[in-house]
């Protein structure tokens, strides 16, 4: 197996007396898009900043492509592109000037400077904005410039801290598309507190709550257990549904609406609908629910608070 792009082990970080990051492990493989989820102040940004070398961990080890970030910061940082929660822009520069500066800071070979810049602009849809002052760009375009500086040196690892905050729906869609594209050739870590975003773009999700990693699973595995919602015309006793194959328990939303829980129910959707039709229950709606992540999130974050 190839070396993971990022291996962060047992990260701890204290801010004065606050234990902001507590024993978090993060691993990222080539071609993977990892979503870091967590409520505000959970420690997502701190984790990302530590991986980028902006913040020094109180203890723990970070390997970037097998290179220790603390021992060889230059070599390790060259392989990282980072977009902080607030894009690190110089408003008085034009987009081109800014990107030129960013690419030089990453010690890119001189003869590639222009090609790299143009490619990054192209990928972020900034081709016609090269001469514009960053201060005069809208928030969405400033965000794009921020992403462009993170990918301009074509790093193996791209770390984006809440890249879609404050953008309009079209821009959000475009940025998600861009992240998906980037994920094909690079490893991407993305932090957000928008749950559908994780489901839309990530392969794997890791939840952080109160500084601890509380959940780490691939999206496919997560969706295996998505519940099925059925809406019937007639009221039915829940027990009658239990006869169906693969259903472990049933949640009644009303007399004629139910959530069916079980493993890999999406493959049995046809059987379930057949069963309803056979019994003349008047099937009005059957759908695979996508909200399991949200439930998981609420469960994990609220249960810990209670304890």
């Amino acid at each position: 197996m190839s070396i993971p792009l990022i291996q962060a082990r047992q990260l701890h970080r204290y801010y004065a007396d606050t234990h902001a990051v507590n024993d978090v492990n993060i691993e990222l493989q080539q071609g993977e898009i990892l979503g870091l989820l967590g409520p505000n102040g959970a420690g997502k940004s701190s984790c990302m900043q530590m991986i980028c070398g902006v913040l020094a961990p109180s203890s723990g080890e970070i390997l970037i492509n097998g290179i220790d970030l603390l021992d060889q910061p230059h070599k390790a940082k060259q392989q990282i592109g980072y977009l902080p929660d607030k894009p690190p822009l110089y408003p008085e520069l034009t987009v081109d000037e800014y990107l030129n500066y960013a690419v030089r800071l990453r010690r890119v070979d001189k003869k590639n400077l222009k090609d790299f810049r143009e490619l990054a602009k192209h990928r972020c849809g900034l081709q016609s904005h090269g001469g514009r002052l960053i201060a005069n760009l809208s928030k969405g375009y400033q965000q794009r410039v921020g992403i462009a500086q993170a990918i301009i040196h074509q790093p193996d690892i791209i770390i984006l801290d809440e890249p879609t905050v404050g953008l309009d729906p079209i821009q959000i869609h475009e940025i998600r598309k861009l992240v998906t594209q980037l994920g094909e050739h690079h490893g991407v870590i993305l932090s957000t507190h928008i749950l559908p975003e994780v489901q839309a773009v990530c392969n794997r999700v890791q939840m952080i709550h109160q500084g601890r990693s509380v959940f780490n699973q691939s999206i496919d595995e997560l969706q295996k257990n998505n519940p099925v919602k059925i809406h019937l015309q007639h009221s039915v006793k829940p027990e009658q549904l239990l006869q169906l194959k693969g259903i472990e328990h049933i949640e009644s939303l009303s007399d004629n609406q139910f959530l069916l829980h079980g493993e890999e129910l999406q493959s049995t959707l046809a059987d379930i609908s057949q069963h309803c039709v056979n019994n003349n229950w008047g099937l009005l709606e059957i759908s695979l629910q996508q909200n399991s992540l949200e439930q998981m999130f609420l469960q994990l974050t609220t249960s810990e608070q209670a304890s």
Binding site: Y15, A16, Q49, C52, G53, V54, L55, A56, P73, H74, K75, K77, Q78, I80, Y82, P84, D85, K86, P87, P88, L89, Y90, E92, L93, E97, Y101, A102, R104, L105, R106, R107, Q149
Partner: protein
């Protein structure tokens, strides 16, 4: 890499009105003073002829002009240095530098050099005024060069101190106020020393005035040069340390 950071700094300075306003104000004030010195020279000229080893144009016009400009430079330098690190810290652009393969020393030296380049331009522009006298008379170029060196060393010390203050605070204005206060302190610290009438006091040794006055008048002591180099080095190292410490603890 240091040079890239310095150039960006210089470019940003000249893209803001601040640099131009400062250059303009300096020119107006210095030109006024310059005319004053020339007039004084003309009124004294008749008497000077009768004195043996009389002070020349350089002593009567260039040296006082440099003396005056060093005060102006002291006043404006906090305005330039205040933003160096605190502004980047405040608007988050420091994270670009920190996540790039650039060391803390390179960041600090780049910033220092950027500000220094700006002040070199300022000093060169200032020097044009006395140099214009060459059309009419002769200048003592040795004294002139010594004065330029004095200005440069003075300004470099202002920048080093300002840079350190800027690394300490996220608010540029706080950094400016602190720089200004400390610069004045280093300026007047020898007043305590001289009132006691002992030339070699400790306070005299710390004072910037003490180390720059002679140089601006044309006498270069190596001790004075070393003082300024040490002053610069100390505050640059402190800035690097501070930037490193910021990453470690909050």
């Amino acid at each position: 890499m240091i040079f890239q950071i310095a150039l960006r700094e210089l470019r940003s300075l000249f893209l803001s009105p601040l640099a131009w306003v400062i250059l303009a104000i300096l020119q107006v004030l210095l030109a006024w003073k310059f005319l004053g010195f020339i007039e004084l020279f003309f009124s004294l000229q008749a008497d000077l002829v009768n004195i043996k080893n009389a002070p020349g144009v350089t002593d009567l016009i260039v040296a006082p002009l440099f003396d005056f400009s060093k005060i102006l430079l002291l006043i404006i330098s906090p305005l330039i240095t205040m933003r160096l690190l605190s502004e980047e810290n405040q608007n988050g652009s420091l994270k670009l530098l920190l996540s790039s393969p650039v060391s803390m020393s390179e960041i600090v030296l780049g910033k220092y050099l950027g500000a220094l380049l700006f002040f070199i331009i300022v000093i060169l522009v200032i020097s044009l005024m006395p140099l214009s006298l060459l059309f009419a008379t002769q200048l003592d170029m040795g004294k002139f060069a010594s004065g330029m060196l004095g200005q440069l060393l003075n300004v470099s010390a202002f920048i080093a101190l300002g840079l350190y203050m800027s690394s300490l605070s996220k608010q540029p204005v706080t950094a400016a106020a602190a720089t200004f206060g400390l610069l004045i302190l280093f300026w007047i610290i020898n007043l305590a020393g001289t009132s006691g009438n002992n030339e070699n006091s400790f306070f005299n040794y710390l004072s910037m005035t003490h180390h720059s006055t002679q140089m601006l008048r044309g006498i270069v002591y190596s001790a004075d040069i070393i003082y300024f180099l040490l002053f610069n080095l100390a505050f640059i190292l402190l800035s690097i340390r501070q930037l490193d410490a910021q990453r470690l603890q909050h």
